[in-house]
Symmetry: C2
Subunit: 400 residues, 2 copies
Amino acid sequence: MSSSGFRLSARAKAAKASEIRELLKLVGKPSMISFAGGIPDPSLLGVDLVDAAVREIFSGPASAREALQYSTTEGFAPLRQWIAESMARKGIPAGLDNILITSGSQQGLDLIGRLMLDPGDTVLVSRPTYLGALQCLTAHGARFAQQDAPLAMDGVTPKLIYLIPDFANPSGDTMSERERLAALDRAEALDALVIEDAAYTDLRYEGENIAPIAALDIARCGGIDASRTLYCGTFSKTLSPGMRIGWICGPAALIHKLALLKQGADLHTATFNQRVIHHAAVAGFDTTVARARQTYRTRRDAMLSALERHAPPGVSWTRPDGGLFIWVTLPEGIDAAALLPLAIAQDVAFVPGGAFHADGTGRNTMRLSFSLCDAAQIEIGIYKLCTLIAKATQPRMQVG
Amino acid sequence: MSSSGFRLSARAKAAKASEIRELLKLVGKPSMISFAGGIPDPSLLGVDLVDAAVREIFSGPASAREALQYSTTEGFAPLRQWIAESMARKGIPAGLDNILITSGSQQGLDLIGRLMLDPGDTVLVSRPTYLGALQCLTAHGARFAQQDAPLAMDGVTPKLIYLIPDFANPSGDTMSERERLAALDRAEALDALVIEDAAYTDLRYEGENIAPIAALDIARCGGIDASRTLYCGTFSKTLSPGMRIGWICGPAALIHKLALLKQGADLHTATFNQRVIHHAAVAGFDTTVARARQTYRTRRDAMLSALERHAPPGVSWTRPDGGLFIWVTLPEGIDAAALLPLAIAQDVAFVPGGAFHADGTGRNTMRLSFSLCDAAQIEIGIYKLCTLIAKATQPRMQVG
């Protein structure tokens, strides 16, 4: 019997509240130094671009009316064209039939889960991986196994491999080209699809671009329609998360199936938002992204150097080439979740790493985002956090 | 083996393209008199209201940045408050915890399907009913039975009853209070939930309002949190379909579960759109709706009088008190789908009624929308259509 008293579906019974939800509520407190939210700095978003786009749309009654009317499930053709051109520059030659506009890349994951998963199906993931992917795919009945380890059970044939190749949430790690090719080898051997979550790909501020898995796949198999990678993109980390515009790029036959599922799910993504984002992207995607890269790089550097100054022995961390996250590993036996209330009491927030592991491990890890804080806040926050970690590392010596 | 070559989920294999999709593509042809689209007249939408709302949001950098940022899954509190007050005026006392903002009411249906349905579960529906509901619930494994008929199979216990009580799509029919109470009786006897799809409720232009099923339910059981009705509302038929803002109003325990499912599905509905629609609703919901009602009433009257003038014997139709649709029943044996290409050849479009029936019946029916045409177009379109129907009714007499 469920808490609501009604006979809910098996999927609904499995849905659990996320710690992230609770934590995100803290971000709003003005005194809080928040390393918790995985969200872009609002001052770096395309506010002026969106403003200009909206004025353009409302400059004529016909374009305003069209922007407020129903539209096709596949999405606004000029926006898909812009995306197709940007995919081509990444080594992914795509036509309009290869692109479906989604309500953020989260909906992309959800639709692919619907497309592929029956209850009990296995999905290969990194450890750690994006919490929202675990939640979403769990709702479709997924079980999880590690993407680069031998399969633990005979007879398990995973249908999906979910990867965030660039500056991953939460680890900050980037997969090398060799690792990407190995993942493709595995997908081919298993006859599985690859979900390439490219949420952070445009936010590289150091090192050379590495070819997307979709590009490597297409180079091997000869064309996008013969490929097995579904590339999930988004404008949420560049122009605006609040507009909820993402896309899936992949083989036309799968995109067509995904569009049918999307039609049942929400008819189409908001017409207005697609037109606004198209205008904004044409007018200034590159300059907006360039500004964001510069700022995030400065903040990453501030956090890395603060960690070097303040972290006690036995603590290690990643050094991301882009994105918003540094991943910290504490000495074995330290529970990051137990540190969180102590940190919050001192106005510092982070996300304990356990939530990002499908297998219940990772209790001694934490995700730190540097996206919302300036260098001075980062210095203070890391100092406070490292002081708490140092105390937790040596509790017995301090007592008595 | 699916057409894509990959091992798709059972749900994905069941997804079928809709005739509506194909038909809607015709609406754009300038010479076409379209009675096909179930869409509001764009000149009646809240274009000026949305324009003013957007200017207000962009008048200060803080409000612009907030509108472009991530936000909570439940939705923008001031918008939920506005909706709660409008629910109360309909006899549905609701608090913020009783309201979840959705990406159009279509997403409301989809989330409720996820919440309740396991494959093979039965949903009771009207015959005919909204095609988008059939598609969406089918994707969750639903089977269908008629809402006001005895259950055909022993041991079948429906979990959901899906109803459009006011000026239904496609029939134009309105359920009497007695019929609403009977549906509630049945839901109680089956321990089923009721989905009250209120997409057209605000578009009444004749007769007295009838209490929503949710209001009757609450009056019986004493409070919304003890009720079994999920009311799905939308701004799509009043302010703008292209903004994709709807809501579910119901017991807090179910709203909480639905919010968890929505988080996995798309994180949240676009922040920007929720704020715009809130501004627009406060500034002029009532005047926008009043203007739409007056125009649709005039068009309904034009279509009813054209049908009276031109329809051959044996043809009957509904007389809606609101909404966008008239439902036409042709003599038995006439196939509306076979008439459609003939009509399109004469630049008249409609939707054959078979698509709206879960059980394959209704081939001699058609849905006519008067929302997009002025009185002159309606006169010509109905004349042409009735001429075709007359020919189809008496084909043998005309030959030889």
